[in-house]
């Protein structure tokens, strides 16, 4: 009995503490809390009921942005701009994580307390657009970017010719390389894919003494990189004719691209066939990498003083993945996000106003300054600063995307491309693996 009583007291105490306590959001001076310039912190109560922002009026709107790509000060800028037009409306900014985002969006957007403005990854957006989760913004097209938008992001944000997702920002894949190793081997920045493969093999030979060394670090599951080879050879994942998807991985062009992938994997790489690129910066810092395909923000992660190897900073170079002809770039995967307004939102006009600010030139320029690719093509030329940013901007001009289908997310969830590449890398029959992947993709995309 005493035991129960102790526990009961503990529980009661904790509840009281929770109810009376203030939240970090209000007490610390940091930025990522839900402060707004106009109002007080909204996260005060922990008592259990959720009153604000639940029903209409000019009270407040909720903004969901994902991950850490959008810096706090840029968000605050947008909120300040918004409050100039709507001084009595509070913008509640809630930073979300990418993990489990689909589950969160599925439940929250269909609930009675939906966020008003949400960010979606470009590979997730189609599914939600097709489901009617987002508000149709076609009428506002002119104010929301008009024609000044990155094509592939626009594709992600459009469903059946209706405009739902406003392009937000993008990131293109580039190639990171060790300038010192290049110098030692007498190599120049490659201008064609051929040259790059030769460079990779040269590096392998010259660095044979380093265990686990890769001239071109290419773990089997790096499908983003593999896609570049596929596209450069003229192949594709799948095409759509009259609503019916056909897998294209078995086409001769695609096979050529996959063979190039396999070639590099076998001859110039030591990364395993079944891992992805999550540990690539660790390999780089261990001195095991000559070149590696990576998103544009990778150098920042490598030289991070806490978790990376800042001492390598002087040896990092970046170039855009070259194409087959000198002076061209290979098509690269464009990652990015779009912003949508919830269909269930009760503050749609306010939400659209906020989105307008976020796609506006001023906001987008600020995003560009942080090294992200702005969604506005007119600002692409202005992206400067680091080598990585320049290379990214260059690569972005030739960017491609996955099939625009609302079922694409299922293909990713089923690891179809990863399994195929691992199989190929391990030496299984290439055309067999491609054919199997085609069948799986057709099965999923055609519903």
């Amino acid at each position: 009995m005493r035991r129960m009583r102790v526990l009961a007291i503990l529980i009661a105490f904790t509840i009281v503490a929770a109810a009376c306590g203030d939240d970090d959001g209000g007490s610390t001076a940091d930025d990522t809390s839900t402060e707004t310039s106009a109002g007080t912190a909204t996260s005060g109560e922990a008592s259990g009921t959720d009153e604000e922002a639940s029903s209409g009026g000019g009270g407040s709107i909720r903004l969901w942005l994902n991950g850490t790509d959008t810096p706090d000060d840029v968000v605050e800028f947008a909120i300040a701009e918004f409050n100039e037009v709507h001084p009595d409306v509070e913008v509640v900014f809630e930073r979300q994580q990418w993990t489990g985002l689909v589950e969160r969006l599925t439940t929250a957007l269909s609930s009675s307390d939906t966020p008003d403005v949400v960010e979606l990854g470009n590979t997730q957006a189609q599914a939600f657009e097709a489901a009617g989760a987002l508000e149709d913004l076609t009428a506002f097209r002119e104010d929301l970017g008009g024609d000044d938008l990155l094509q592939s992001l626009l594709e992600a944000g459009t469903y059946e010719d209706q405009y739902y997702g406003v392009p937000y920002y993008a990131g293109a894949r580039v190639v990171i390389y060790r300038t010192d190793l290049f110098a030692e081997s007498g190599l120049e920045v490659p201008t064609t894919i051929e040259e790059m493969v030769v460079a990779a093999e040269t590096l392998m030979a010259d660095n044979a003494g380093v265990p686990n060394f890769s001239g071109f670090y290419l773990p089997g599951r790096n499908w983003h990189a593999a896609l570049s080879f596929l596209w450069e050879e003229g192949g594709d994942i799948a095409t759509n004719a009259d609503g019916q998807w056909t897998g294209q991985l078995s086409s001769p062009e695609s096979i050529a691209g996959l063979e190039l992938f396999k070639d590099i994997f076998t001859r110039a790489n030591s990364a395993p066939a079944d891992s992805d690129d999550a540990a690539d910066y660790i390999a780089f810092c261990n001195g095991e990498v000559g070149m590696m395909p990576a998103p544009g923000w990778k150098p920042g992660q490598i030289v991070n003083p806490d978790d990376g190897c800042p001492e390598m900073e002087g040896n990092i170079g970046v170039f855009a993945l070259p194409g087959s002809d000198p002076g061209t770039t290979a098509p690269v995967f464009l990652g990015g996000s779009v912003i949508g307004v919830a269909n269930n939102s009760e503050n749609k006009e306010l939400a659209v106003d906020l989105v307008e600010i976020m796609i506006g030139t001023e906001y987008q320029s600020q995003m560009a300054e942080t090294g992200l690719l702005p969604a506005r093509t007119s600002l692409l030329a202005d992206v400067g600063g680091t080598d990585a940013a320049v290379a990214q901007a260059q690569a972005a001009t030739n960017s491609r995307f996955v099939p625009s289908s609302e079922n694409w997310a299922a293909v990713e969830a089923a690891f179809v491309l990863q399994d195929m590449l691992t199989s190929i890398a391990q030496g299984d029959d290439l055309s067999g693996a491609a054919a199997a992947a085609d069948a799986a993709i057709e099965d999923i995309l055609n519903g």
Partner: protein, 310 residues
């Protein structure tokens, strides 16, 4: 219906007990009420929805208001006709049985060990069990995966094998998964069985020892039968959990291997339903999984129905 009071007092029940016996006993229902209320209130509707969803065409559009068509048993047909589903199913059943067997045997052994130890070692061992138990499934899987990492893993280093991939071969992959699941499952079984062992009366054991029974005989003829309810409960729970195992497989699959060859039902269902937002198939798979789990535990269920005591 007789009450237990009536049972205990036996044939020579005083009139008061007779009266109590004839009235419908209120106490058991009263004691049960909080549990029933919570479970019914929270699960009633979702379970009903689960059944309904499995008979409809229900995807993301339906979550957002589009009407759902009735498709009868189509979803079940889709699943059951898919050869791959059966592959995954057999794989899961085998995996489950192996894991349950290992967990129970090792768990029981550790419980006996705890029983034999002096209090200092006992505290040390039980603390180590708690530490292992307290580790979140995700973190534990990550650490074990590092141990078996192809390039940097401890296992390869200790065994002197460079670059051996433990996750590439499906059997090896599931072997690693088994190590993780058993490692994570043993603490609970061991500690619970140990708790049960403490309830075994020492008098009976001493009497048996005096009568000349060996340790092994005492174990087999006294301890195991007395622990039987607990053993059965733990085994059935292990079957339930290991059949549905998800996190470990999911995390390991992200680290390596070919997912098609290593999918177990839990991950497969997740990939289909949440991954593809196909909630109808997900619901059907869930119901199929329940049906199969019933089959797996049917022996226990029948025994339980027969012996009212259990």
């Amino acid at each position: 219906m007789t009450t237990a009071v009536g049972d205990a007092l036996g044939a020579s029940a005083p009139p008061e007990a007779e009266r109590r016996r004839r009235r419908r006993p209120v106490l058991p229902y009263l004691l049960l009420t909080p549990a029933v209320v919570i479970l019914a209130a929270m699960l009633g509707y979702p379970l009903y929805r689960l059944g309904v969803l499995s008979l409809q065409d229900f995807g993301l559009p339906q979550v957002f208001g589009q009407p759902a068509e009735w498709v009868g048993l189509d979803n079940y047909a889709t699943i059951l006709r898919d050869g791959y589903f059966w592959t995954v199913l057999w794989r899961t059943v085998l995996f489950c049985l192996v894991n349950v067997a290992l967990t129970m045997v090792i768990g029981f052994a550790v419980a006996l060990l705890l029983n034999q130890l002096g209090w200092k070692m006992r505290l040390l061992v039980s603390t180590s069990l708690i530490l292992a138990w307290a580790m979140p499934a995700l973190t534990a899987t990550i650490v074990w995966q590092w141990i078996f990492d192809t390039q940097y893993g401890l296992a390869n280093w200790a065994l002197g094998r460079q670059g051996e991939s433990w996750l590439a071969d499906p059997l090896s992959f599931l072997g690693v998964a088994t190590i993780i699941v058993v490692w994570m499952g043993v603490p609970f079984v061991a500690l619970t069985l140990f708790a049960g062992l403490t309830q075994v009366s020492s008098e009976i054991l001493e009497a048996a020892e005096v009568d000349g029974a060996s340790s092994w005989q005492r174990l087999r003829d006294i301890v195991v039968p007395m622990l039987k309810p607990l053993l059965l409960i733990l085994t059935s729970l292990s079957v339930l959990w290991d059949f549905r195992v998800f996190t470990q497989i999911y995390v390991l699959q992200r680290a390596g291997g070919i997912s098609r060859d290593t999918n177990l039902l839990g991950v497969y269902a997740y990939r289909i339903s949440i991954g593809g937002s196909e909630f109808d198939i997900g619901a059907a798979v869930a119901i199929v999984m329940v049906a199969i789990t019933i089959l797996l535990t049917i022996a226990y269920l029948r025994e339980m129905a027969r012996q009212e005591d259990l």
